[in-house]
Symmetry: C2
Subunit: 436 residues, 2 copies
């Protein structure tokens, strides 16, 4: 069979990696795909820049439209990132009847509904395995591997930068700000780390995972998102004392009332496999009603791990080139006409357990007041540590683990506790998930 012609938009880390992998593993890939896959064209903003890949034999251009409008090209690989230009380019490619592979999570999370509707109309595939958890084939696992299941919940470490920071804080007893600076120096964190440390990147990915797991539209705006910037090394150390490890998780869970979608720091029992996923690695735990718990682990970012997912998507698309579009695997795992508008719960309605840390004055009766407030809000305490006075501070830290309660009750209880004269400053709360 004649080679499939691929045009790559963007020659940065992932674009360069994609070309490297396609070149190095050309024989292996063609043994699998049954035909050769050739990058014939590529675009980049600056053609004179030094690249990580060899572009010999590839026609280069600064104008992505040269590629998208080229009738010779079968598959467009969008690796320029960002959302507005990428969206325009992908929509034109689809209109031109081309299949699209992208690693762009923001694009899919924010504009996927529109993109997939257009793609369905034109009968083309848009594949995006690389958009979530880099090289881990989690989209394929959820969409195809677990297709027999009602997915009940999933929880993922889906931001490598955040996980690197939390791992360093725990292993070396360091402060957040200190580790962040190092991560920036190492190139793990951007100069503006907001996307990573505030959970926006993870929320993009969770949007995609939840849609595929439950057959709901992509709805980034409904995710409750909390970053890791308020986690102190004391929290990390108290959590450890209680038998927990703090991870920044994206969580999606089906409940009787609707779906919880949330990104926040989370205490996980230290014996859970996912609690031991360290450094820049990613992992996603998926619970299906038939299969039970499954976990997928690997590199969540990087040039070649991400390229691994991009190229796997290209091979999938190559295999589907002659398939009638009715039998394509649906973009979001469920048939477009079967996507269901299951309600997404707002933050108040989340049910979870909590770790609470507060500082109180060293007076008798303080603890009684705090526990009375919790009881009034039907919140049961599961574990409790009181520490002696800390350096430069006469107040005493109290750390508590609660049983599962409604976020609304917890908000009200915290408000009342913070209003006590004997409580110093604010109550620091971190959610706790058993994941067992």
């Amino acid at each position: 069979m004649k080679p499939v012609k691929v045009g790559v938009l963007g020659l940065g880390t992932v674009g360069g990696g994609t070309i490297n992998v396609l070149r190095r593993n050309a024989t292996e890939i063609s043994r699998r795909a049954g035909r050769d896959i050739l990058v014939t064209h590529a675009s980049a903003r600056d053609l004179d820049k030094k690249r990580i890949c060899n572009t010999e034999g590839i026609i280069l251009t600064t104008d992505p439209l040269d590629i998208i409008n080229n009738p010779e090209i079968d598959i467009i690989v969008e690796l320029i990132g960002g959302e507005s230009l990428a969206k325009d380019l992908v929509l034109i490619a689809i209109a031109n009847g081309k299949h699209v592979v992208t690693a762009n999570k923001a694009l899919i999370a924010l504009h996927g509904n529109e993109i997939f509707a257009q793609a369905k109309q034109k009968g083309v595939m848009v594949a995006f395995e690389a958009a979530v958890a880099g090289g881990i084939p989690i989209i394929k696992a959820l969409r195809e591997g677990l297709s027999a299941n009602c997915i009940e919940s999933l929880a993922g470490i889906i931001n490598g930068t955040g996980n690197f920071i939390l791992t360093e804080m725990r292993d070396k007893g360091r402060d957040f700000a200190d580790v962040l600076s190092e991560a920036q120096a190492l190139g793990y964190a951007e100069a503006d780390p907001t996307f990573d440390v505030e959970g926006i990147d993870a929320a993009h990915k969770l949007t995609i995972l939840a849609s595929i797991a439950f057959g709901i539209p992509l709805q980034f705006e409904k995710i409750f998102t909390e970053g890791i910037t308020n986690i102190s090394r004391e929290d990390v150390s108290y959590a450890e004392e209680l038998g927990y490890i703090i991870k920044h998780l994206g969580i999606a869970r089906k409940t009787a009332n609707g779906i919880e979608l949330r990104v926040h720091p989370t205490l996980i029992p230290h014996r859970r496999l996912i609690a031991n996923v360290d450094g820049v690695k990613n992992a996603v735990l998926v619970h299906g009603d038939a299969v039970g718990d499954t976990l997928y682990y690997g590199a969540g970012a990087g040039s070649e791990p991400t390229a691994s997912a991009v190229v796997a998507d290209i091979i999938d698309v190559v295999r589907a080139l002659t398939t009638d579009p009715e039998n394509h695997v649906p973009h979001l795992a469920f048939q477009a006409n079967a996507i269901a508008d299951i309600p997404i719960l707002n933050a108040d309605a989340i049910e979870t357990a909590y770790y609470l840390r507060l500082n109180v004055q060293d007076k008798t009766g303080v603890l009684a007041e705090v526990t009375r407030i919790l009881a009034e809000h039907s919140i049961s305490i599961e574990a409790f540590i009181q520490k002696g006075p800390q350096q430069n501070d006469s107040s005493l830290p109290i750390i508590m683990l609660t049983q599962i309660t409604l976020e609304k009750q917890m908000n009200a209880a915290i408000k009342s506790i913070e209003a006590l004269d004997t409580v110093v400053g604010t109550v620091n709360r971190i959610r706790v998930e058993n994941l067992g």
Copy 2:
């Protein structure tokens, strides 16, 4: 679209689970597959037996041929197990132009080459996700999710019974025989545990994984297989002291000289994720040249976890019903004409590190003799423990970790060490893999 009609052969644990999952999740499955999937016929040896599934509306027969020869049925699901009858039935089903889904690892490992050749000729799919690691979509991950990679190695805990036994030995300091009896009482181990504890079941699964990873023919007979029956609780405890956990692994590794295929107990550094996969759970670690390490974890057996994989395969086949056979995902990941006969190394040529335990008489110079023999065979020692005399025994245990060496050298060294007058009994050897 009209429903797809499925005939199930075998109504035991997996057959019953498959019918339960298809029934319970019918809506969810049809939302994904775009059409209904109906089990219309099923066969069982004894129709009066009490079943775990509701067979209402399903036409039952004791003769599988009634189903295989029924022109109404699109997909045959073979869940009777064993190899000879299953093989005959599957070959007739293929000859009849039916797609086949099976959970039968022995069938695929031993007769897969013939079955796939027939299937290819007839243009039908034979899907077998459930044959390896139960509900974990590892076949799909290797075959499609990692299709961009040259797979360099994989290592899996792919027998739940063996992992349960080793986990109990470690957690409770119990003996092998003692835990085996309990596993039999719990139904985790068969009355004849040979398949599980001697590694034959794991070797069947490794045969399949290796073929898909490297694009080689299925060749069960070339696997080096060693069981866990010689692992003592002392080994488990000494390993722990050295920072290792003992797991029964199936390992496939590409080297410059050929491919290593081996199943044996293995010391793994305790911090590795796979070292912490406990009880009856399975996990497979895959190293690809682009993606690096990825790991897949979940239930490796059981009614519904296995059914999860069977039903996912049915959905895959449903989607491929109208695809031209040239574009099916190849059965063994690589196109049939691209399967390569890469040499499989014999046991002598394996390269690995070793844990050695031997008992020596309490005399000076013994250790010097042992280390001299190792040095003569170019084997370096990495760690060493000498214990005091054990109860009821005047000899002293010596435990050593070696650096990576050739199995042939180690065999010769062990032979010489065992010939020493000062060494009591045999040298117990367990292979060590870093998996880092």
